[in-house]
Symmetry: C2
Subunit: 215 residues, 2 copies
């Protein structure tokens, strides 16, 4: 019970800080999207594709979360987009305080769209509100159609699901209809975008939808 109490205190404090972040984002008129996925589902590659399609329309910044390395932030900077790396050490998710502290070092005034790429993990990031407007889940279709039932909190809490690596599905045993049906049992409303970052299919649908969310 002690551990549960500590966790609920941590989540309560996180919600308080997330509200401060949310208020600040609203005051600055910055739309914030939090990208979450298992390791290797293609978050950074999807970000690159998304930025290339949107950077002529919006002023974009990126906060990258990783245990170690600034490899992802360097990839984003190559697109001439400001990027800030948070390295979490052994912590398996971003939290509102990490994002808040990052904003002391990373100026987003005048920006219109902030992407936050979370640590690759299908469990804990779902519990930690960062003050974002949109929670986006990227799921690699070759991870299997049974995953919505096995990681229900993540699938339930997100506002959009992007099914990446569609180019690989024909070589796998995963059935797309079955996967979508399993997602719908957990989340009845989030739009689902099948995409391939490799061949570019579906990216426009996702980008057009995202663009309509931003004032």
């Amino acid at each position: 019970m002690h551990i549960v109490d500590v966790n609920s205190q941590i989540l309560e404090e996180n919600s308080r800080l997330a509200e401060i972040n949310r208020k600040m984002f609203a005051e600055q008129n910055i739309y914030v999207a939090n990208f979450m996925s298992a390791p290797g589902a293609g978050k950074t590659t999807l970000l690159e594709k998304t930025i290339k399609k949107m950077q002529h329309l919006f002023k974009i910044s990126v906060i990258e979360g990783d245990l170690q390395t600034d490899l992802d932030a360097e990839r984003i900077k190559n697109l001439n987009v400001p990027a800030h790396q948070i390295t979490t050490g052994t912590v398996c998710h971003l939290d509102a305080r990490m994002v808040h502290n990052a904003l002391h070092e990373f100026d987003i005034i005048g920006q219109e769209l902030l992407f936050i790429e979370n640590v690759g993990n299908l469990v804990c990031p779902a519990d930690f509100d960062l003050g974002e407007n949109l929670k986006v889940m990227i799921f690699s279709v070759v991870e299997g159609a049974d995953k919505p039932q096995k990681y229900p909190v993540m699938f339930h809490n997100v506002d959009a699901v992007i099914l990446n690596k569609m180019d690989l599905i024909e070589y796998s045993d995963v059935d797309l209809d079955n996967l979508i049906q399993n997602i719908r049992e957990i989340n009845t409303v989030a739009p689902i975008f099948p995409v391939s970052c490799k061949d570019g299919s579906g990216i426009d649908d996702w980008v057009n939808w995202l663009s309509t969310k931003i004032k």
Copy 2:
């Protein structure tokens, strides 16, 4: 600092319980392998393939860890192997206490080989000793060659690395030599087994190696 103190207390208590588990496993002469991976890397499928090759040689039991559902335990029971499901709720890894408690309900006396399938997560399971003899990591090659540097604790702490979904690598941008080189920068000694659970390639090498570890 408060959070760090709580975490170190949790890990200390976990190590104490893991030693109790380890002693009990040794007294019972049961070899224990802990399977860890990101979600959807193929832990359960590899377990099925491994069990089919080894169940005529050893008395095998399985403990399954998942947030929700007993889908994986049911798959294992279909092989006529005793399986026990631990559902962790929101906890993103197994710990020594969960395994210890499971053994009050799940009789492994007379068994020779116990597989523990951890929650799908490349971060936290690496920190929690369960009292096992062998930590095995299953990595889906299509997750990308940069992952050893991004999830170094897991890659560092394991005794064997299984590179699964080799059947998909030719359709991806992942370079096997580059991936292996990146693993070797983090872990110089663990044997690396490229396998495909789909076409069966490489499974015999892994099973033969594992068999030599068991007295």
